[in-house]
Every structure is written in C-alpha cells, then in structure tokens.
C-alpha cells in the first residue's frame, strides 16, 4: 500500500506480541484511577475491619490474630482481584478488541499470555500494598527473610494460576456482567477456607470442603513461611508439606484452565 512504508511480511514474535498486549493491560490499569484507588481503599478497609472489628472475637491458637489474618487476607486478595480480570476479558470480547487481535498475524496464545502477565503484575502491586498495610497494623514476620521471599514468590505463582481460571470464566461468560456473576464462586473459596478463621471452628461438613480446597492450602503455606514454628504448631505440618501441595494445586489449575481458555479463545 502506498501510504505506509515498508509493508511487512513478517509476523510479530510471541515475545513481542505478548509484551505489547501486556503493556496495554498495564496502561489500562494505571490510567483508570478508579481501579487503582478504589481497589486499594477497598482492600485496606476490609483488612482494617477484620483486624479491628472481627479480630477481637476470633481466636487463632498460638498466633496473634493479625499474624494469622494477614497471610489469609493477602492470599484471598488474589481471588478478589481475579473477579476484575474475568470482567476485563469479557469486556474486550464484547467490544470487539479480541476480534481485532485475533485477526492479526500474531501467535494466538499471545493475547491471553499478555493479559495474564499484565493482570499478574497488577496483582503483585496489590500484594505489596496489602502487605504494607498489614505491617502497619501490627503484622510481623516470625520466620526467616528467605522464607518470607519464598512466600511472596508463591503468592505470585497462585496469582498467575488463578488468573487463568478467571480468564476462562470471562471468555465463557461473554459479557462483563455475566463474568462478574460467575466470579461469585470466589466467595465460597475465600470464606470457606482457613483465610480468616481457623477451619476447626466451622461445622464438620464444612470443614471437609475447607480443608481440601486450594485456597486453604495456599493460605497455610504462606502462613507457615511467614510465621515459622508457631504456625507449624497451630496447623500441624511444616512448610514443606503446605508448599508442595500449594504448588501442586497451582499446577493442576494451570493444567485445566490454560487449555480451556486457549481453546475457547481460538473458537472465538
């Protein structure tokens, strides 16, 4: 074509296209102040409510409630921000942006990979903010710094894994509203877990679910890594036990939802 120089027969590589799409996701987040400010304020408010309103009434064995709560709060924050990711991808689908991207000569996996990358980066930002607020209201590390860094790394892995679950929900939902609706499954996963209260305080039938779902395992992994021996004593197992199971759950979630999301995306 005459108006544009150097027509290309090349295609963008996987890396270029993934990064390009990730950059768009990040800019969208950073330039939508409602997302940044509201998300942060909401997270902070709930942390304060749990810490100061409910916290006094909740016993957490040998741990201070704030030390028990913050690992759970940070981990479940991943799922709550995932609701936004599901709505976001559904919105792209509805507004035709996904059509544009699917018509481009780029690897089809790049669109979802770029999105997952951007959402995970946003998530890491959220983790840091929540952890900061946690420290401000009395949360302390009782393990080694290396363990704390490992906990952080684990959280990023969980976030990336859950991101694919939410991408799949968003792709299947089709509209942002429907995606928000589907994403309500976050509530049983987060509240019926060890995140906010010890599982032993729940009715027996509920404990069965709470003990065997991924969020509990992930929360406990972070708890043991940040709280050391006191948490081990409370929970009954060492870091290794929880970390291995948490990683296995992450791998399983990825193994199911990456192919599902990609297949749904390809089908259009």
């Amino acid at each position: 074509m005459a108006i544009v120089a150097a027509p290309t027969q090349r295609s963008a590589t996987l890396a270029t296209s993934t990064l390009g799409i990730a950059k768009r996701g990040l800019l969208k987040y950073l330039r939508t102040p409602q997302l940044v400010v509201l998300g942060t304020i909401q997270g902070a408010l709930f942390l304060l409510i749990f810490r100061y309103v409910f916290g006094g009434a909740i016993g957490a064995g040998g741990l201070d409630y704030v030390d028990f709560l913050v690992p759970g709060f940070i981990t479940t924050g991943i799922l709550f921000s995932g609701m936004g990711a599901a709505a976001g991808v559904a919105e792209d689908l509805q507004q035709g942006l996904v059509d544009r991207l699917r018509s481009l000569p780029i690897p089809r996996s790049a669109v979802l990979a770029g999105r997952a990358l951007a959402d995970t980066a946003v998530l890491v930002w959220g983790l840091l903010i929540t952890a900061g607020i946690g420290f401000a209201v009395g949360f302390r590390l009782h393990g080694s710094l290396t363990d704390a860094l490992a906990a952080f790394g684990l959280l990023v892995v969980f976030g990336f894994a859950f991101e694919w679950l939410f991408l799949t929900l968003g792709l299947f939902a089709g509209t942002p509203q429907a995606a928000q609706g589907l994403a309500l499954l976050v509530f049983p996963l987060t509240f019926v877990s060890s995140a906010y209260v010890p599982v032993e305080t729940m009715p027996g039938w509920m404990q069965g679910f709470a003990e065997h779902q991924p969020v509990t395992v992930m929360v406990d992994a972070v708890r043991v890594l940040t709280q050391g021996p006191a948490a081990e004593a409370l929970l009954g197992h060492g870091a290794h036990f929880y970390v291995v199971r948490a990683l296995a759950w992450s791998a399983a979630i990825l193994a199911v939802f990456v192919p599902l999301a990609v297949a749904r995306y390809r089908r259009g």
Partner: protein
Amino acid sequence: MPPTIEATGLRKRFGKTAALDGLDLVAEPGQVLAVLGPNGAGKTTFVRTVATLLRPDGGELRVAGHNVRRQPAAVRRVIGLAGQSAAVEPAMTGRENLHLVARLFGQDTRTAKANSAKVLAQLGLTDAADRLVRTYSGGMRRKLDLGASLVGSPRLLLLDEPTTGLDPRSRIELWDAIRGLVATGTDVLLTTQYLDEADHLASRIVIIDHGRTIAAGTPSELKQRAGRNVIEVHVRDQTDLPRVAAALAALDHGEAQVEEATRRVSVAVEAGTDRLRQALGSLDAAGASVDDIALRPPTLDEVFLALTGQALEQAPDNAAGHPAA
C-alpha cells in the same frame, strides 16, 4: 494475480440458522467491493469468515490466493479488520493504539512509529493523537479504528458496517477517509445496509440475502436495473390514489407502488429533476391534490424489489435507520 477474495459455495451454520448458504462472490484486485444486504443477511458472518475469525462449514474461501481454512496465518498477514464497534483501547492515546497494532504486525519500533504518524495524519487525527481515546468522539474512535486496520499496510481492508451508529456528519467524514484510502490503491471489502453508502464508496456491489448472492454489478448497473431515483407522492385524499398511481406510472413506464395506509405512491424514475417537473405537471393535469412530493434515491428495499421481485421482510427497519433516506 489471484482474486482478492474468492468464495465458492460458502456455508456457515449457527445452530439451525444457515448464516451463509452457498455464497458465491469474487473480488478482483483493485476493487472496492460493497456487500449490501439487510440485517441478518450474512454480511458480518462473511466478513468474520474472511478475517479468519470463523471457520466455514463448507465451500471454499480464498483470500489473496490463501485458503482461509488451511492457511489462516497467511490470510491474517494480508488483511486489516475494522469491525462494527470501535476496537480501540480507551485508556491509550490514539498514537499508542496505532503503535501497538503496528508492532503486532511485526514492524520494528521505528517503522511502527513512522507508520502510526502517517496514518494519523491521513485520517486528520494528528491534533488528537496524544490524547487518550476515552476523550474522543464516536466518529473519531471509528476513524482511529479504521487507522488501526490500516497501520499494518494490509492488502485488503475489511470494513464491517463502518458507519453504523454514526451521526450524518461523522458518516460523511468517514466516507471521505475511506475514499482517500481507496485512492491509494488498497482493496476494500465493506458491508453496509445502505445503498447510498455502497454507491459512494464501491466500484462493485454484491447484494446478499439469507446467506446467498442475489445480484452483483457496478453501482450504476444495479441502479439502472433498480430505477435510479424514486418520486414519492403523499396524497391528501385516499380516492386520488389510483389517479396519482396512473399518472406516475406513465412517467417512465414504471410500476407505481401504492401504500394505502400512508396514502403514499412511489415510482422509480431516471436520473435528473426533469421527471419531477413532469410529475408535477401530470399530477396537476390529473387533478389530484397532493400533500407532499419528493425525489429521493431508492432505498435498499426498493432495490430488492426491483431486482428480485420480492419485498424485504424487515424493510421498514432498514429504511428507518437510514439518515439519508
């Protein structure tokens, strides 16, 4: 050089509905082809199939010689798509949007930058280039969307109802932009419900309905077959209808369409205002009292009627949404 688009017996079903039901269509290089048809005719399905977003169930579709089913990646390299909604990111500037798409087309940073600037200038968006798209008007977003489909220097531009939902002024601006592109030699496939849009932009029109081609030709060929213009008369007194119909039918040996309910008579006539003058004269002579008389281009349903002898099912809807009709 192979045809830009070559569809043979193309089929696509959604559940029980055959969106494409054996569509045949050829677009030669150097053409702007308009696919004209009512809502639900299969226009969008066809564009999405050409854009490799949908896989056809049967028949064959080649784009620049590449089979869409077997070589979708090769097809994606030669097309640029602008769909029905403006698929641009509101939280990025116009320039950033184009730059991203150019990069995704495999251009290096420098080329992408230069091409984005050129496309922005061509569409008259340079002044707004560094503003966030969320501050753009609907017309500007559509233009930018058009730009995004261009920045990869595609051989074939796919425009799916590019002006639907735009106000008349933005519509004309977008037409000008598209005409500008055509002048530079890009092949274009555009879909529209509006005959005047096809007439303004296309060198060839294919009319489709129920997923099949029902007529094809240059705009002037089709309009000759359909009657170039329409004289429409609003009669004051119902009893005058037959007289008015007879007077109008005599103008061009055409058949006058009488709508009893709205007391309207219309007839297709040759171009120019001569016929309108004659019509006024013969209505006077017939002694009919007339509320209103107008000369206008034929609507899609009138073209349909003339070409197929069949009225469009949802013809009133199509005419109602048409700002120029």
